[in-house]
Structure formats: structure tokens, C-alpha cells
Subunit: 105 residues, 2 copies
DNA sequence: TTTCTTTATCGTATATTTACGATATACGTT
DNA sequence: AACGTATATCGTAAATATACGATAAAGAAA
């Protein structure tokens, strides 16, 4: 199979990438958990998800890749939090899309 | 592999589903094309995408599945347009997520 | 130094997505 | 009725995503 990604422009790809980061319920829940607790270790997140530790780690890594969160190593633990700057950008481009594309009020 | 979808709640799944529908640049472009032309046949969309007709048809079908667009059969052609009601709902739940999760202004 | 705790990564299996060509369907046109 | 046009669906291949257990790595505690 040939990937056609490069045939699309930067805006389209960026929006699609953020949407992909948000396209799994576990990752939505992780964002909400991070928002509810100001400090949050991987273990805390694992405890609140019906998934294995390694699977949660993968989801965290995807969110990190998208820039929506970042993790800081604290000894043997890792402290995750939302990256407000990227989140703000994400919010803006989604708002823009919906404003452009949705005719309603 | 066991799917864990049912372990997440309705809100998490709904948001993830819409995000998934938006997670490909071709589908973002399709939404913009539909917005720019008030009437739009599959052929018009195919002409504006670097993808085969059957692939575009698949993307349209995914967008239809998510409810973000709908298609009405007009003789041998199909007229697609944005489903404003669903789009408004999508806008609302994304806005809610970003407002909840993003601490910035 | 050995052990424990915490987390990421590796290996692997299965599911889903992306992409295409070929074919089927459905309707208009000749 | 036969042909042409528009579109969806089928079959298939390759890529990516999801999930887990096992293992590795890194630092704290004993």
C-alpha cells in the first residue's frame, strides 16, 4: 500500500494528527484524569483505566507524540501533565474547522 | 486481541468516534469541499482528491457512518452535504473537552 | 550491593485502516 | 433493449493500531 499523506497540506495533516490522538476513549479519559489531578504518575493513570500497564504506556506515548501532554521524569516515576500551549493550539484549529464547516449558529 | 471499547463510557466513546472520523487529512478536505460547494456529487470530490474513486467512496462512507455528512441519491448520482445538526453536536462536545482540559484562556 | 518499585520497550497476536482495481448496481440516454 | 455514467461494494494487500505479557532500565530503599 502507498501512503498518500504527503499529498495533503500541512493544516489538513496537523488537524488529522490531533484528531487521531483523540480517537481512542482511553486517551480521552487520560486527558480528563490529568486535568482532575494536578500531579499524576503513570501508576495513577493505570489504576483508573481498564487496561494493562504496557497498553496505558503506549497510549501515553501517543499523546506525548501529538504534543498534547508531556512527561517529566521524577526519580523512578514519571509525572505527566497537559501541555497547555499545544492544547490551546489544538482548541484553536478545531474551533476554526467547526466554525468554517458548520453553518449553524 | 480483545477490544476494551465497552469498558469506557458513552461520552468518551462518542468523542473518540468523532475524532476518528476527523483523523484523516482526506476527510478534513472533504468537509471543506462540501462547505465550499453547496451541492456536491461524489465525482466533484473525487476530482479534488489525490485518491482513487473507490478510496474516496470509503472515506465518504466513514464520514456518513459518523453522522457528520449525509448523502441523498439523485438519480445515478449522490449529493453529499454536511449534517449541520451532528456537526453542531460535535462542535459542542469538542468545545467542552477543550474547555475542561485546557487551563489556558 | 541486592532488592523493590516504577515505567518504557520488545515481541507478538489480532483487529482495523488505508488504498487500489475490478465488479456490481442503478439510473439515464440512445 | 443496449450502452454510458456515476457510485458503492468486493477482494485483496500492506500499513497501522490495539492489547498483552515479559523484559529491561533506572532510581530508591534495604
Amino acid at each position: 500500500m502507498i501512503q498518500k499523506r504527503e499529498k495533503f497540506n500541512e493544516d489538513e495533516r496537523k488537524l488529522a494528527d490531533i484528531a487521531k490522538a483523540l480517537s481512542h476513549p482511553a486517551r480521552i479519559r487520560i486527558l480528563r484524569i490529568l486535568n482532575n489531578m494536578n500531579i499524576c504518575m503513570t501508576g495513577d493513570i493505570v489504576n483508573q483505566l481498564p487496561l494493562a500497564q504496557s497498553t496505558v504506556s503506549q497510549h501515553l506515548s501517543e499523546l506525548k507524540k501529538s504534543g498534547l501532554i508531556h512527561g517529566e521524569i521524577e526519580g523512578p516515576k514519571v509525572c505527566y501533565c497537559i501541555n497547555n500551549e499545544t492544547m490551546q493550539k489544538a482548541k484553536n484549529i478545531f474551533t476554526q474547522l467547526f466554525n468554517d464547516v458548520c453553518d449553524c449558529k
